[in-house]
Subunit: 385 residues, 2 copies
């Protein structure tokens, strides 16, 4: 197995991009990644996308996007694992390079969500839950995460102010990220005064509907120095795991078993401990998700992450900065692209080029990307060279 | 890179399975594959499925199916490349085992197409074409393949009787396959008297709407002898390539460039020539597709496959038996499952357990699985051990 590095990154500003199609968004990000490292060829590509059939009436996006990027006849594989599709695309690309099947591989993610109205978008997102046992009964993702939040609150005494503190922190980070969908500071009061979507979750506890894409380029570490003008960032750990898709079948709601297993594998492979992680991007599709994720992947003990944002521990400048990109909450959440954008943030942090968001002396970073209510999780650990 | 073998296969009868859900179909095939080889654990799984969001209101089927099979927390990856999704799932599983990331991997395909009516199914299938330049203009797949057929007819003098001969042959093969959707003989006259769907293609030139699943289990060749009660079948070649998704951008319609590139790679890797292939499963979504595919992958010279079925060359007992399973035409075409069913047919042929369909002395077999109008193709070459 060969060591693998990320040598190129590309991502435009996320938001409601009505002037850009699915293919425009992808090509823009992919060309930026190619330009970032300056490679002249791709051997293969992966793209994570959750529901282009429902959002855009378009499946078969592997060849579609390869064609639009002008790189046919290379293999182009679309992978889907709901909101973890981007992380999964990165993992599959990593394996292909590590194994020696290909040298230069593009891993991208894209989702164009505003081609449909809010109701249709809610339906499309609901297909990440169990259609027969959850979605068909009328529950949507805010409802499912509200159940998780209630379970955590009853077990550990979490307050709605603690939840709101996560959103406030991530918005304060997004303010420093020019690519973030929302670039404005919010307060705990504003979160609590926003509409109640599914008690205890308010509108500002939820990540938004977003159009966007992100792309990175991987190659063998040995070639990275020659190929790229940037300091390569090495992939040292990768883990992917699954859990029951329906919440009712879980032993506990507030601990994400797939996240725990994926992290366990990534840490084993990387041969590092949770204490060595300097900067983290976790999947905060809802404020409660950030808290549960941090505990499930072993960065906090169960029950200990609930007040981490309120106490400043997970802020930029705190003991363990979490979601300095703004997270899904502020940067936006074009579902298939999110996992790749997490990788991009960690690469910039480890390159030392994150500007106002730079975490001092960041050497090792972790990404946690999950699908649905953590029925699937992909975790990666990256290290500065 | 390790040698890889197929050690288990599983598939139920295909057809209109109103009594079985997407997950039922998958689990049935997967359990048969597990039972066929008798392994007690899976390390990872891949599933090819084209459009569960549109057909069943369900995405995120990796963990859904892993959960229903009872194998969480193993990684479960859904891949999609329209009608080539199954072949792609097999290729990704092959790469994971060859690379040494996992030892025992399930590769499956599934599509449950009869949960929606004909119009909705046509829409869902149309998402494999270019939504903006083809589908939105009103053309569907029979129309696109009719254009290809017209182009071939004008160039090489093909007749509608030659096309019909492909359907007649594949139905005669399907008659010997207990898992085929259609088990009845048809005549050239019946094909020509069936409804004209898109001139020159009649209803009986077209593969049907089908519910079905198929699953195989791969492992390193070295372990295959110990693990399975069957003679292992070795994967000796694998190729995947893409082309423009829209037909208007192609230099010629009747030659599938992605198929040519995928086959070229598979033959190079296998170190065999087209003349050494004993049995072939190609993607006959329409009768014209079988003809173009055989030429594009190099088994016939351009213009030479048109009369092969009419002349008996591609019949069971002929010089090069093609689609002895019945092909998509007679066996059925649950899009995501088709590529895996092709592998299963070749495995049975190379094991020598194909019964009435057995090709005498079959040692090397090839599968050709393509998406849309060949915007993507996956080719595999397998060899008896």
């Amino acid at each position: 197995m060969r060591d693998v590095a990320v040598i190129g990154i590309g991502m435009s500003k996320w938001g409601e991009c009505w002037q850009h199609s699915l293919r425009d968004l992808f090509v823009s990000a992919a060309l930026q990644a190619i330009d970032d490292c300056g490679v002249s060829r791709l051997d293969s590509m992966y793209v994570g996308c959750m529901a282009p059939g429902l959002f855009n009436g378009q499946e078969h996006i592997g060849p579609l996007l390869a064609d639009y990027l002008g790189v046919t006849p290379i293999p182009a594989v679309r992978v889907e694992s709901a909101c973890a599709s981007g992380g999964l695309a990165f993992r599959q690309a990593y394996m292909e390079v590590a194994a020696g099947f290909s040298d230069i591989v593009l891993a991208a993610g894209v989702e164009k969500m505003t081609d449909v109205d809010g109701e249709a978008a809610t339906y499309a997102l609901g297909t990440a839950a169990d259609q027969e046992y959850e979605s068909f009964q009328g529950i949507t993702f805010p409802g499912l995460y509200a159940l998780i939040a209630r379970s955590y609150m009853q077990k550990y005494g979490l307050t709605v102010e603690d939840l709101a503190a996560v959103a406030v922190k991530n918005h304060s980070h997004g303010l420093k990220n020019p690519r973030a969908q929302f670039q404005r500071a919010i307060t705990v009061e504003e979160v609590l005064q926003s509409s109640l979507v599914a008690d205890p979750l308010h509108l500002l506890d939820c990540s938004p509907i977003t159009d966007g894409a992100a792309a990175v380029i991987l190659c063998p570490l040995r070639k990275a120095m020659k190929l790229s003008k940037h300091k390569p960032v090495k992939v040292i750990g990768s883990g992917h795991a699954t859990d029951t898709i329906a919440l009712h079948a879980r032993k506990q709601l507030e601990f994400f078993y797939s996240s725990a297993k994926a992290a366990e594998k990534a840490f084993q492979m990387a041969e590092v401990t949770p204490q060595q992680i300097d900067v983290v991007e976790v999947h905060d599709c809802f404020t409660i998700a950030e808290i549960c994720a941090l505990e499930s992947i072993g960065l906090f003990e169960p029950g200990q992450a609930g007040k981490a944002a309120a106490q400043g521990i997970t802020h930029l400048g705190g003991k363990l900065p979490v979601n300095v990109s703004g997270g899904l909450k502020s940067k936006g959440h074009p579902v298939g692209a999110t996992g790749i954008a997490q990788i991009i943030e960690i690469v910039e942090q480890l390159r030392g080029t994150a500007g106002e968001r730079q975490v001092a002396n960041a050497k090792i970073g972790l990404t946690h990307n999950m699908g649905g209510t953590a029925a699937s999780t992909v975790v990666h650990i990256l290290e500065a060279c």
